[in-house]
Amino acid sequence: MFIYHIIQQAGTTIKNSKFSGFDVCTGGKNFPVWYENDQVRNAVVDATHTIVNNTYGAADNRISACKSINSSPDGDVRIIAQEDPDGSMAGEPGFYIQNHEAITNFIDVSTCQAEEEGSCLRFCPGLCLRLGIVGVSQALTTRGYNMIITDTGSGASGTVARGPIWFDELQNHLSAPMPFQLPDPVGKYQISFTDTNGDPAWPGYAKVNLERAPTCTGALVESEIEFVRPQSDDIRCDDLFHEDDYAQGIHGWQESPRSCCFVVCYGVFNMKTRPYVYFI
C-alpha cells in the first residue's frame, strides 16, 4: 500500500479514474495515457504530470510516448520520464523512462523492465528522477552545441544536444532549452558545453531551472549542479555583436561569463527597433 498525497501542480493530473477497452485491438495498439506529439515546442518536456490511483486493463498497456518521440512535427521529443508515484500503473512506484543516454547512463538499467511494445518507455522500479531545463542562448552561435552532464562521483556522463528552435531563432534574447531527467548524483553534476567542433565552449549564458520535485524521496536538488565554464575569451568583449547582424534582422544579446562589460539588446522593450545597452 503506497500512500500518496496529491498537491495540484502545473501539468495534467489524472487520478481516481478507470481505464478500459484499450486492449481489444489486435492491430495498432491503443494506450490509456499518451504523450502528445503536436506543438511540442522545441521538442522538450517542461511539464510534470501526476498520474495516481487509477485502474487499467492489461498489465502491458499503460502509457506511450512513441508519438512524441518519433513523430513530433517540431522535432522529436527528448528526455521523457513519467513518475508512477503510487505504483498504480506498474505495480510499484518508479519511473517510466525514454531510452536516452542522458537518463540511462546515470541509472542501473538492469533493474528496469523491458520496454512495452509500442510505448517507447520502460519502467524502472524505485527510480527517482527530477526534470530540469537548462536555458542557454539560442543565438545562432549555439547551433550544434551539446550539453555534457557528468557525475563527479561515478564518472557517468551523458550528452544532450541543443535541439531545433521553434520560435524565431533570430530572436536570440530567448533561451534554448536543454532538458535533463536526473537522479540524485553520487557526487555532483557538472554541466559543460561543446561547440559544433566538439571543443569546450560557453553558450552565452546557462541557467538551470528545476521543475517541481517528484514524490519519491532523495530527488536531485539545485546545489548538486554546477556549471563548468571554459576560460574566458577576452576578445569576446570586443565583439558583443557576435554573429548578430541587425541589418539582417538578427536580434539579441549575450551575457558575459565574467561580467566583463555590457550586453546589448535590440528590439525587446516596447517593440522599439533601436539597440539598448545594458551594464551588468
Partner: protein, 233 residues
C-alpha cells in the same frame, strides 16, 4: 433567461448562445449543419465568423449554467467554448472590462456530447479558456465522437470530475492545457457496444486510433526572456 427542456434539430449555424446569467437545462440539440462548406469561409455572412464549423451549444461567455443538455450529431463540434471579444457585444456597456476568455464558468454539469463529427464532442479550441482555478465540469459524458471526446487548447484549470469518455478517436487531448485534472473519470477506448457495431460492419475498426488522455509535454512553450538593468545611451 431559463431555457428549459427544448428540443431543436437540423440547425444551420451555431445554436444556443447567450451572454450572461442564463440557465440551459435539459435541452437537446441535434444534427447541426453548416450553412456553407467548411472550406468556404468566403461564404460566411461576416468575415471572421465560424458558422462553417457549427457547434450545437456555442458558448461565447462562460457565466451561464449548462445542466443536463445533450449535443448530438453535429457536423462539427457538440459544445464549443469559443471565447473571444467580438463586436457588437464587446462594445456594450454590460461587457466593458469583461473578457470571456477569463470569466468564471457557471454550473457545467451532466452535459452530454455524442456522435459529433469534427474535432471534438466538447472543445475550447479556438481560442482557449483561461479559466479561474477550480473550474469544474461535473459528470460530463462525451462519446462516439469522430475526433476527441474533449479537446482543450490554450486552456487552464479545467477539472473534469466524474463522467465518461468513451469510443472517441481519442478520449481527451490536452493541448497546452495547464493544470488539467481528470478525477474519477471512466475512460473507455472501445466499449462492448462499439465492438458490436464494428462486428456488424456498422462502424469502422479504428484500431490504433482510440487513444486515451494525452499529456502535453511542453506547456510553457519555453519562451523566456531575460532582463537586465537598462541604461539607455
Amino acid at each position: 433567461m431559463l431555457l428549459l427542456t427544448s428540443c431543436v434539430s437540423f440547425i444551420l449555424v451555431h445554436l444556443l448562445f447567450l451572454e450572461w446569467d442564463n440557465v440551459f437545462y435539459r435541452n437537446l440539440g441535434a444534427y447541426t449543419r453548416p450553412p456553407v462548406a467548411w472550406n468556404n469561409p468566403a461564404g460566411l455572412i461576416r468575415s471572421g465568423e465560424t458558422d462553417h464549423f457549427p457547434s450545437t451549444f456555442w458558448i461565447t461567455n462562460p457565466p451561464n449554467d449548462f445542466i443536463d443538455n445533450v449535443a448530438a450529431g453535429s457536423r462539427s463540434t457538440g459544445i464549443w467554448f469559443e471565447l473571444k471579444l467580438r463586436a457588437p457585444s464587446s462594445t456594450l456597456d454590460i461587457n466593458q472590462g469583461s473578457n470571456p476568455k477569463t470569466n468564471p464558468l457557471g454550473r457545467f454539469e451532466g452535459n452530454v456530447a455524442h456522435s459529433n463529427n469534427f474535432r471534438a464532442g466538447i472543445t475550447t479550441y479556438q481560442t482557449g479558456y483561461r479559466a479561474p482555478p477550480d473550474t469544474t465540469w461535473t459528470n460530463i459524458k462525451s462519446y462516439k465522437n469522430n475526433g476527441s471526446g474533449l479537446f482543450q487548447h490554450g486552456t487552464n484549470n479545467i477539472i473534469m470530475k466524474g463522467g465518461l469518455l468513451a469510443d472517441n478517436a481519442e478520449a481527451a487531448r490536452n493541448f497546452h492545457h495547464d493544470r488539467a485534472v481528470y478525477d474519477g473519470v471512466e475512460v473507455i477506448g472501445r466499449s462492448e457496444h462499439a465492438q458490436s457495431m464494428i462486428d456488424q460492419g456498422r462502424l469502422n475498426d479504428g484500431c490504433g486510433k482510440a487513444g486515451g488522455i494525452s499529456l502535453q509535454p511542453n506547456e510553457g512553450m519555453w519562451v523566456s526572456i531575460s532582463f537586465h538593468l537598462e541604461v539607455l545611451i
